[in-house]
């Protein structure tokens, strides 16, 4: 049953799982104070005013 098709599919699934895990890790790291634009929805172009609360 270990034919080429199965191998490709297995690789794709592994890739998807790795990507999902990697994304999750990256997002959890963004839990720290370091901030950049969210990669899903972009960053706010409309921040208009003021001092973030402490």
């Amino acid at each position: 049953m270990f034919d080429l098709q199965f191998l490709i599919v297995a690789l794709l699934i592994a890739g998807a799982a790795t990507y999902a895990a990697w994304t999750f890790m990256r997002k959890s790291r963004s839990f720290s104070k370091k901030s950049d634009c969210a990669d899903d929805c972009g960053c706010s172009s409309k921040s208009k005013t003021p001092k973030a609360a402490h």
Partner: protein, 649 residues
């Protein structure tokens, strides 16, 4: 970067009030040669572009739109840091171009005077001069330049007027030191206020000397429009009408391109089936990837339309009016006037919305806004709403011309907003108690939205949507497919169900898969909502991201489909889906229940991550996920059971 010794690379900052025409000027000077990033450590957008000045190029930095430089806000602090050269990787600007709206000269010049105080050479780019002259006002630009002590150039981005002159002037004043034309006396009894008085005193004088108002009436056009649009009674009705029109347009205009995309993906799937040998790989590509990613990408036309309308409403100046109309309601429930903006952007996506709450100074006000922002129906819910409406409420009209779909859509948005207001009311009176915060906001004059800005905004958003479909949604689709495909039933072709197969198109494969087992496990919990285990699978998956519901359903009805079945659209698959007893799984009531659930539930990993980051607390994050999802469950339960009691199906 110092190619020919005596002509060093220049750094130029573009500063100006919001709505002064700064973005238009920036686009016109840099063309497509720009990049957007963030200032280090904050979510204030940093926009840079290359401006070719004659034979040399300069980096043009677009500062955030601001009214003042006195650092009471994050934007102001950043702008000041850029001007004084204190921002990492941003050289101190050689010249500041101060964008000034000629139709609002005094207040716009206030920022210019502050810029002068930093000792960096300043040139004033006077925008909206055409509008100004249309009002029969006359401005003596030379006189203005003379009294202010800085060069003033009239620019018109549309007509390219003043671009070259601006470039020449910039080069000319590099290295010069501006002389402050007025005195600042910080020791006067008025304290800091004396600086404000000094600046405005100087400005009034300069304006008086150089401007002749032939027509005393100002901004009356906007006021006349507002007589209707912010009318005490009609204003709110018009707001509702505008939203209704937008939703109706989103539905009707998107139908054709969506159908095309759908049949396109269908054809793609069939093509792959004929090209590839039958087997596991073809199954993955067709049932997993094409069904999952394609299922979401089909909604691209609607996303484009949604952002088209949002951009137009923002750019025209109507958004500010909407905030004006609704502020009383906001302050009633104890929300900050500034909360309107984050909440409004949450209709696009809660993430920029939550990041925009940084404009709110008080922590309790800010948290209250963060906690309710995800109730605003974001664009990821749009595919879910549309799918449900398309499957069960399409083509029906109310009063003969308003489509039921648009009304339902409006109702979903309204439900989100109402629940948000109630929750805010409760929060602000219990755990986040604080007095109602202030509200000071400019109502910019109405303007024709700039096509370019609108399209740029639309494309950016569309690209993010596509990117997301190609990355996160793709990965989730593959994983879900695998969970539905494995383990393989021992006899994949023979259906071993006890029920009659003809009434039951689902194969035993799906039922016995990992995902199927998971779905069955949670079925008792969602049964009272009228959902079966397949919807359960999709529901669990959608906690990663809302639009995954569509992908999952698409995969489920593809994997669970008999081999000889025609490839059909997702909508017809949903309409025809039967449960184990041969009854229809989906009814209009189920669809409505699912929509209600999606309005209120917290199903978005990214939002959870952002909330954790912005509140810096897992406690608040977990609180939010729990109360929102709990609320969603209760509301869905009430919808379904109540609907059944009333005799709906």
């Amino acid at each position: 970067m110092n190619q020919d010794g005596n002509k060093p690379h220049l750094t130029i900052a573009l500063a100006g009030n919001p709505n002064a025409g700064k973005t238009t000027l920036f686009n016109s000077l840099t063309g497509l040669n720009q990049k957007v990033a963030n200032y280090p450590g904050v979510t204030v957008e940093r926009k840079e572009g290359v401006w070719n000045i004659g034979d040399r190029s300069a980096t043009l930095i677009d500062l955030p739109g601001l009214y003042s430089l006195d650092a009471t806000s994050l934007d102001e602090e950043i702008a000041r840091n850029v001007i004084t050269g204190q921002v990492e990787n941003v050289p101190k600007p050689d010249v500041i171009v101060s964008v000034v709206d000629a139709t609002n000269l005094e207040r716009n010049l206030y920022l210019s005077t502050q810029l002068l105080e930093y000792g960096v050479p300043v040139v004033i780019a006077l925008t909206m001069i055409d509008v100004f002259e249309k009002r029969k006002h006359e401005i003596d630009i030379d006189k203005l330049s003379e009294t202010l002590g800085v060069p003033v150039i009239a620019v018109n981005s549309k007509a390219d007027r003043g671009k070259d002159e601006l470039a020449d002037t910039v080069v000319k004043i590099v290295g010069s030191a501006p002389k402050l034309p007025y005195e600042l006396n910080g020791d006067s009894p008025d304290g800091d206020n004396s600086r404000i008085f000094a600046r405005y005193g100087f400005i009034s004088n300069a304006v008086q000397e150089s401007v002749r108002h032939n027509d005393k009436i100002e901004h009356r056009v906007s006021e006349r429009i507002d007589r209707i649009l912010t009318h005490k009674v009609f204003g709110l009705a018009i707001l509702v009408l505008i939203l209704l029109t937008v939703f109706q347009a989103i539905f009707s205009w998107a139908t054709l391109p969506m159908d095309l995309l759908e049949s396109g993906f269908g054809a793609l799937g069939d093509g792959v089936r004929t090209l590839l040998p039958e087997g596991i790989l073809a199954d993955l590509i067709v049932d997993g990837i094409i069904a999952g990613v394609g299922g979401v990408l089909v909604f691209l036309p609607q996303i484009l339309l949604l952002f088209l309308f949002i951009s137009i409403l923002e750019d025209s100046g109507y958004m500010a009016r909407a905030a004006f109309l609704l502020d009383k309601l906001m302050s009633r429930v104890g929300l900050h006037g500034k909360a309107f903006l984050p909440l409004m952007s949450s209709f696009a996506c809660a993430i920029p919305g939550i990041m925009a709450t940084r404009t709110i100074e008080d922590k309790r006000d800010r948290f209250a806004t963060i906690l309710i922002a995800p109730f605003m129906s974001c664009s990821a819910r749009l595919p879910v709403y549309t799918l449900m409406i398309g499957a069960f409420f399409a083509g029906q009209t109310v009063l003969g011309f308003v489509s039921l779909g648009a009304i339902l859509m409006l109702a979903m948005y309204a439900l989100g907003i109402s629940v948000a207001l109630v929750v805010a009311y409760i929060l602000k009176r219990t755990i986040l108690k604080a007095p109602p915060p202030p509200f000071i906001m400019e109502l910019p004059p109405y303007r024709m939205p700039s096509l370019r800005t609108v399209f740029q905004n639309m494309l950016t958003r569309a690209w993010l949507f596509v990117k997301r479909a190609g990355t996160v949604i793709l990965a989730i689709s593959i994983i879900l497919w695998a969970l539905m495909y494995f383990p393989r039933s021992s006899q994949p072709t023979v259906v071993t169900d006890q029920q009659t197969e003809s009434a039951n198109p689902e194969s035993s494969q799906l039922r016995n898969s990992f995902a199927g087992k998971l779905g069955h496990t949670i079925e008792p919990v969602i049964r009272p909502l009228g959902f079966d285990w397949k919807i359960g699978v999709a529901l669990i998956a959608s906690f990663a991201a809302r639009e995954v519901l569509v992908s999952t359903l698409s995969i489920i009805y593809n994997v669970g489909k008999d081999e000889n079945e025609q490839s059909e659209t997702l909508i017809s698959a949903i309409r025809d889906a039967k449960d184990d007893n041969g009854n229809r799984v989906w009814t209009p009531l189920t669809a409505l229940t699912l929509m209600v659930f999606f309005v209120l539930a917290m199903q978005c990993m990214s939002t959870i991550a952002i909330v954790r980051r912005e509140t810096n607390s897992w406690g608040w994050t977990i609180f939010m996920v729990t109360y929102m999802t709990g609320l969603a469950y209760v509301a869905a339960l009430i919808t379904y059971q109540g609907g059944k009691m009333l005799g709906f199906e």
